[in-house]
Structure formats: structure tokens, C-alpha cells
């Protein structure tokens, strides 16, 4: 039967003309929630890490809900097009957003007029704490200390792959500020493009999650300098933290989190909290998430909101300083 549930996404997409008619007024009462299939809006294309993790979560959540949780990919404008769909939706809990720090960066870079607090924040259900820095295997750099020394010797010369305004971009801004260094931040695109850029020697440094780099580390093409966390990442246990290598530099994990339209009744959110807790405790779910190279978690809406608030404050500050530096030039 679960195959049929998967098919629902397709059926829903294809029969949407009909669905548009159904999703009008007269939404079901919160206490009966969910009375019909829930759309989980993923503001990214099919096949990426946001999409895949959402699919795994939805697969397990719909078993507990007893109603299909249908993945709807709405990409564009760095995630804004998707989040806006939920922002503008009816507050009935049938259009729910699944996203990560992009909800904050979109606001800080002025793409979206709202941030995480334009929504009711739900639980964080999956994390990726393995964001690390990589350099070429032949670069001679072995630790973050080496990188900092090199950047200090040649300010603004180390080409560092990033995607402007994205999560890793703010990581690099933070690194520059805390360590007093100047890198040459080069936009090369997403994870696949970054990997090509470092492999092809077009850039010197790359921030990326650990997944997909293991082969290159084993083959000697890449050296991983460490992860930007207080503790080693469970999904990259071999990689030391920066602190272990002697430099105190920490950043956030990717927090895949559920968001609701701002006026959604608490009963709906409570239903999701219960489901998220049950799903997180399910060993088959944990195994499925681990296969994706990510970490299954449950973080309460309060914890999640605190985490997003911290990112918001930090990114706004970093963006302001960046603008001031640019203004002086």
C-alpha cells in the first residue's frame, strides 16, 4: 500500500486542476486533523538533499498520520517561491513547509520579506552537522591552522568556493571575521559544482557537507580540514572538529525543519510534534536517514525557533559588516 501512497504525489500533481477546486474554504476542523492528504512543500527540486530527506520523513510520517503526506517540489528564487506558497496558504495545516536555514538566508539577502518568524516554527526532524572545509589533496594544507596561515600570508588570494547568500556563504564570512583573514569568495554554485571546482583546481577551498566526498578523500584528491561543530558529526565520525585541530571555529548544522502558516491552530502543530517524536524514535526511520548521510533528530519547536533566531541575528550582523567593508572600498 505504501507504494500507492507514493504514487499520490504524482496523482496529485497530475490531477491538480481538480485539487485546486477542493482546497477552497471549509477546511477541516483542527481536531480531526488530518482529514485529507497533507502537502509537504519542498522549496527545492527533486533529487537534492532537502528533497530526499523530506521524502524519507514523509514516508514515515504518513504511516503515523494515517493520511498521505505528499511531497510537492516548488523551486525557484533560492527557495522563496516555495516558502511563499505556504506563507500565503490557508492556516489549516494542509500546506506545510519543509526547509532549512535557507528561510533565514533568503530574508537576510533581501529575497524574501519574511524570515523564520513569518511562520509558526515546528520541530526539526533531520540535521546535517557535517559541514566541513576541504582543500585539494596536493595543497600542502592539513589543518584549518594551515589555511589561516596561508590566507594571512596572501590576503584575498585563496579562492574559496561558495554560493552567494547561501548557508555556506555565511559560514565563510564568519570564518573571515573571527580569524581576521581575507579569502577570495567565488560563487561556483551548488554542491556538485563545488566538487567539480575543487577537483578541477579552479578553487583552493570548499565548504561542503561530508556526504559524497569520502571517495575523494580516500583517493587523495581532497584533504578535509575538519567540521565546524563542537562535537564530531555522527555522520562523519572520522573527521575531527576544528577545535580538535587547534582552532576554535564553530558554525551551525543544516536544520531540516517543519514550518506552518502563521495562524495555524496549535492543535495542528501539536499533532505534528507527536508524529515527529514517534518518527524520530522509529529505528527504520533512523536507518533510512542514515543511508542519506544525515542525522535523524527531534528538536522541539522552541529549540528550533531558538536556533533559527540565533542564525538570524548572526547572519544579519555578518551581512551588515560585509556591506560596510564593501562600502569602504
Amino acid at each position: 500500500m505504501s507504494d500507492l501512497n507514493h504514487l499520490n504525489k504524482s496523482v496529485l500533481s497530475l490531477c491538480v486542476l481538480a485539487a485546486v477546486g477542493v482546497a477552497g474554504p471549509g477546511a477541516a476542523l483542527a481536531k480531526d486533523y488530518p482529514a485529507k492528504p497533507i502537502e509537504l512543500i519542498v522549496p527545492a527540486g527533486a533529487g537534492g538533499s532537502t528533497d530526499l530527506s523530506a521524502r524519507v520523513f514523509a514516508k514515515h510520517a504518513q504511516k503515523k498520520f494515517g493520511k498521505p503526506v505528499v511531497i510537492v517540489n516548488i523551486k525557484g528564487a533560492g527557495g522563496y517561491t516555495g516558502s511563499k506558497t505556504v506563507y500565503d496558504s490557508a492556516p489549516d495545516g494542509y500546506k506545510v513547509l519543509y526547509t532549512h536555514a535557507g528561510i533565514v538566508t533568503n530574508n537576510v539577502t533581501n529575497t524574501a520579506p519574511y524570515s523564520y518568524d513569518g511562520f509558526k516554527v515546528g520541530p526539526t526532524v533531520i540535521e546535517d552537522p557535517s559541514l566541513a572545509l576541504f582543500v585539494g589533496g596536493q595543497s600542502g594544507m592539513k589543518t584549518l591552522g594551515d589555511l589561516i596561515a596561508k590566507a594571512k600570508a596572501e590576503p584575498g588570494k585563496l579562492k574559496t568556493a561558495t554560493e552567494y547568500g547561501a548557508f555556506t556563504y555565511f559560514m565563510l564570512l564568519k570564518l573571515q571575521k573571527e580569524q581576521g583573514i581575507q579569502l577570495n569568495l567565488v560563487d561556483v554554485g551548488g554542491d556538485a559544482d563545488k566538487t567539480v571546482a575543487l577537483l578541477g583546481g579552479h578553487v583552493d577551498v570548499m565548504p561542503k557537507v561530508y556526504l559524497g566526498t569520502e571517495d575523494y578523500i580516500d583517493a587523495g584528491d581532497f584533504t578535509v580540514l575538519g567540521v565546524a561543530q563542537a562535537k564530531r558529526a555522527p555522520n562523519a565520525p572520522k573527521v575531527p572538529t576544528f577545535k580538535e585541530t587547534g582552532i576554535d571555529f564553530e558554525y551551525h548544522e543544516y536544520p531540516f525543519t517543519i514550518f506552518f502558516q502563521k495562524d495555524t491552530p496549535q492543535a495542528v502543530i501539536d499533532a505534528w510534534i507527536k508524529i515527529a517524536q514517534e518518527v524520530a524514535a522509529d529505528p527504520t526511520y533512523q536507518k533510512d536517514v542514515e543511508k542519506l548521510g544525515m542525522v535523524p533528530v527531534y528538536k522541539s519547536p522552541e529549540e528550533a525557533a531558538k536556533n533559527f533566531a540565533a542564525m538570524q541575528a548572526e547572519f544579519v550582523e555578518l551581512a551588515k559588516e560585509k556591506a560596510e567593508v564593501a562600502g569602504q572600498k
Binding site: S13, G45, G48, T81, Y164, H202, K291
Partner: protein, 506 residues
């Protein structure tokens, strides 16, 4: 080799052959219906493959991909509407052939050369994937910029007849492509404070509107004019509808087009629609009778169809050898790998050789199945021409709306096809060619993004672009491609002016 034979043996088990027949058949349906694309077929079946074993899952996805890309030629030939973005160039000669009663031959040619283009590329995939993949690593944004600029100058060759009209069409494409937030810094352009315009126009609704809706409007106009619309005459065909001599005359065209398809496929992000158009242009340029292109000759169908199927093999190369997806379809396949716990990367060949060779075998067998299914399907497809247009076209419009919606699950895309249909219709009335508008729409974001990224790499120096050999080659070729026709036009005008006492032209 043993591993490969084992994989082939596994693939040839009844259950997996059945699965592949199903995959190819569904792919053909998706490919042949305007509005539904290869990417959609795969997005739809991806969740189902999660519950299968990794080999069965990948077999199904590969079959869908191959079926869909080749299926696009059916509506391109019969309706003058590309079934998938990859089959745009197939319309150029395929549709005129059909109008001359040679629909069966056009389809037969398309099917056989789809097969051969695929076969050549899969052979390259099996034997030289790792070195080819390494080659792609030499392409930084600077090389991408040079290559896409070069491709854009090819608009000049697509502008059959009037250069001014070709350029005008190209400008329309560029203009529409710049709507939305700009790459890299996210500035809003031409969004008119309409939120839906923030993410810009999507390629698929653009193509659907420009080709399908325009075609429907033209047909509707003919009805209202109360003209009797005659069903297309059909010549009887034998086999695939062409002779051995005709086949062998295409051997260089096949080879050239497949190589172009393979090359474009290997480079992430450019895709089958560009490769088939470029192969078409190359065939036209190399031809002894370029003036016949567009009037319904098989050369045009051969070029487009062998290139777009070769692009599949090309796109699989960086995916399997480096773990890097080249387009939306291979990005979804990568997702399939991860769900099954396979780590994509250069060591996949070593750590999961059986899996990789399973994909190779699946490509070869699915390609064969495509040939068989379409050979028998051919006689059914051409019956489509017997369906009255007043029944067929409304169905197509419905599929187009559904297809445009499902690209990104929003109504705005479905609505935008009307706008593009209107633009396409006006362009038809003004006798502007559509192809330049398509090529420039696809290339514009690639050129802009890679220019800006390239400038970051060189710290703002344009001159440094010319220091890179690959970029230098393509940029110089592009400049030559622009100047030569200008000089030629100038000379012929001067010759005319000198040869006649009347007012000089131009």
C-alpha cells in the same frame, strides 16, 4: 568483462526485461505527449524505485529516460510540436517531411538514428567514461562561458533567410530569460512587483507555449477561416521507410551529431535541447545542400535525433564516474543512489562495480527495447494523423496545461503558456523563426552566470579568459562566426551596388 557479462545476464532475466519494456513504453508515452517530459516521468517513478532493489530501480529509471527522449520525436514529426525539449530540432525537418506524406519515413529515420546515437554514446560510456569525466574537470565557468557564447552565435545559422528576423527572435528569448532574480546576487529584474515572476519563467512552459499553443492557434485560425483542413496524405512504408543507400549517406552526419550530443551531455547543465539544435546547425553547415534544410530532408532528423539520444550517454558519464549530475534527470538518479545507500564518486566503479555495470547493461538493452517498441509502434503512431484536429488539439492543450503545472507545482506556469502561445503566434505572423528564441532562452542564464563566476575567478579580468586554451578556441570561433557572415553580406551588397545603377539595397 566477466562482470559486464554477468550484469547483462542479470538484466536479461524475464522480470527485469518486463520492467524495462514497461519503463521504455511509459517513457515513450511521456516523451511523445507535448507537455510531459523525461524529467517528469522520472520524478514520478523515483519514489517507486525507492522500494525496489538498487539495480531494478536504476534499470527502470534508465528505461524511462531512453524511452522519453526518443519518444519526443513522434509529436515533433506528426504535429510539429516537440514532445520533449530535446526534440525541438526534430520538428525543423520532421514536420515538413510529414506534410509531404513522408511521416512514416521521418519517424523511421528518427527511431533508427535515436537508437544509433544512443548506442554510440553508451559504448563511449562503457569504455572511456573515466577519462572523459576527467576531461570535464578542465571546464571552469570561464570555459562554460566561452562555449555558451559560441553556441549563442549559432543563432546566426538558424536564421534561415533574414538575419534581422533571426536576431529579433533571439532578442525575445534573451529578454524573457532575464525575468526574475538575477543569478548570484539575486537582484529582481522585470518582476513588476509580481511575486510569481520572482523565480522567472521556466523552460518547459516557455517551450510548450511557443510550440504547442502556437500550433493550436494556427490550426484554430484555419478552422475559423472555414478552410477545409485536409488530413495529411500518407505514403506506405516498408521496414523503417528508408533505403540502405540513404542510410549510408548519413554516416558522417550520425557520427558528428552523436559526438556533439555526447560532448554536450558530458558538460553538466547544458542539456539535450541545446545539443540537438547544435547538431542540426552543424549538419546544415557541413552539408552540400544547406538550403534544403528545413524543407523536409532526413538529414535534419538524423542530426537532431542521434544527438539527443547521445546526450543521455554523455550525461551518465559524470554521474557514474564522478558522482556529479549533469541535468535534472541525472540529479534525480543520484538521489536514487543515495536512497539505496550507494555513495556516488570516483570509486563507485570499484566499490559497486556490479551496480555500475548493471546500469551499462540496462542502457544497452533498454536502447534495443526502444528500437523494437517504436518499430511496431510506428504504424500506430501515424494513425494519429487520421484523428481530426478538433479532437486531437484540445487533448493536447489539456496535457500541456497539466505538464506546465507539474514542472513546479504552481498555476502560474500553466497560465504563462498562454502568454508564450500568444508570443509564438505573433512571431509566426511576423515570420520570425522560433529556434533562435529557444536557444537564447536556454543559453542566456548559462552565459550570464558563468560570465560572473568567471570574472570572480579572474578577479575581474576579461583578458584572463583568453589565457585559457579551451576558452580561447571557442571565443575566437564565436568571433569568426559573427564576422564572416557580416563580411559576406557587406561584399554581396557592394557587388550588387556596383553591378546595378539602381538604388543600392540595404
Amino acid at each position: 568483462m566477466d562482470i559486464f557479462l554477468n550484469a547483462l545476464w542479470d538484466i536479461l532475466q524475464p522480470a527485469s526485461v518486463m520492467l524495462m519494456f514497461l519503463g521504455v513504453a511509459v517513457g515513450i508515452v511521456f516523451g511523445s505527449i507535448p507537455g510531459l517530459s523525461a524529467a517528469m516521468a522520472i520524478a514520478l517513478f523515483l519514489p517507486i524505485t525507492f522500494t525496489m532493489g538498487p539495480n531494478a530501480g536504476m534499470t527502470l529509471l534508465v528505461s524511462l529516460y531512453i524511452g522519453a527522449i526518443s519518444g519526443g520525436l513522434i509529436s515533433a514529426v506528426l504535429l510539429n510540436i516537440p514532445g520533449t525539449p530535446s526534440s525541438i530540432a526534430t520538428c525543423f525537418d520532421g514536420a515538413p517531411m510529414a506534410r509531404q506524406g513522408e511521416a512514416g519515413k521521418a519517424l523511421g529515420v528518427g527511431i533508427v538514428f535515436s537508437f544509433l546515437g544512443g548506442l554510440l554514446a553508451f559504448t563511449a560510456l562503457i569504455f572511456i567514461a573515466p577519462p572523459l569525466a576527467k576531461f570535464t574537470l578542465r571546464f571552469s565557468p570561464i570555459e562554460y562561458f566561452a562555449i555558451t557564447v559560441f553556441a549563442l552565435t549559432m543563432i546566426a545559422s538558424l536564421a534561415s533567410g533574414s538575419m534581422v528576423k533571426g536576431l529579433l527572435s533571439g532578442m525575445i528569448g534573451l529578454l524573457l530569460a532575464t525575468v526574475g532574480v538575477s543569478p548570484i546576487d539575486g537582484a529582481r529584474r522585470f518582476t513588476l512587483d509580481i511575486d510569481n515572476l520572482t523565480s522567472g519563467f521556466d523552460l518547459l512552459p516557455y517551450l510548450i507555449g511557443l510550440f504547442a499553443i502556437t500550433e493550436v492557434l494556427i490550426a484554430a485560425e484555419q478552422f475559423s477561416a472555414d478552410k477545409h483542413v485536409e488530413p495529411l496524405a500518407l505514403k506506405k512504408i516498408k521496414g523503417f521507410g528508408f533505403t540502405l543507400a540513404e542510410f549510408f549517406a548519413q554516416k558522417w552526419n550520425l557520427l558528428r551529431s552523436s559526438l556533439i550530443g555526447l560532448f554536450i551531455g558530458i558538460l553538466p547543465g547544458i542539456g539535450g535541447s541545446t545539443s540537438s539544435i547544435l547538431a542540426y546547425i552543424a549538419a546544415k553547415k557541413q552539408s552540400k545542400y544547406p538550403e534544403k534544410f528545413g524543407t523536409g530532408i532526413m538529414d535534419g532528423v538524423v542530426a537532431s535525433e542521434s544527438a539527443n539520444n547521445a546526450t543521455i550517454g554523455g550525461a551518465l558519464i559524470p554521474l557514474l564516474a564522478l558522482g556529479i549530475p549533469g541535468d535534472g534527470v541525472t540529479a534525480m538518479m543520484l538521489g536514487g543512489f543515495l536512497i539505496h545507500g550507494l555513495t556516488p564518486g570516483p570509486l563507485l566503479f570499484k566499490t559497486s562495480a556490479e551496480f555500475v555495470y548493471g546500469i551499462f547493461a540496462a542502457c544497452l538493452v533498454a536502447n534495443m527495447i526502444m528500437l523494437i517498441l517504436e518499430f511496431f509502434g510506428l504504424r500506430i503512431y501515424i494513425k494519429l494523423l487520421k484523428v481530426p484536429k478538433y479532437i486531437l488539439l484540445p487533448i493536447i492543450v489539456v496535457m500541456c496545461v497539466v505538464g506546465a503545472f507539474s514542472v513546479n507545482n504552481r498555476m502560474f506556469d500553466a497560465e504563462s503558456i498562454l502568454l508564450f502561445g500568444l508570443i509564438g503566434y505573433l512571431m509566426y505572423k511576423a515570420k520570425l523563426p522560433l529556434a533562435p528564441a529557444v536557444l537564447s532562452f536556454i543559453l542566456c542564464p548559462l552565459i550570464e552566470t558563468n560570465l560572473r563566476r568567471g570574472l570572480m575567478l579572474t578577479e575581474g579580468s576579461f583578458l584572463a579568459f583568453f589565457a585559457k586554451p579551451i576558452a580561447l578556441f571557442f571565443l575566437v570561433t564565436a568571433i569568426v562566426a559573427l564576422i564572416v557572415p557580416l563580411v559576406r553580406t557587406f561584399r554581396s551588397h557592394r557587388a550588387k551596388a556596383a553591378g546595378t545603377t539602381k538604388t543600392p539595397v540595404g
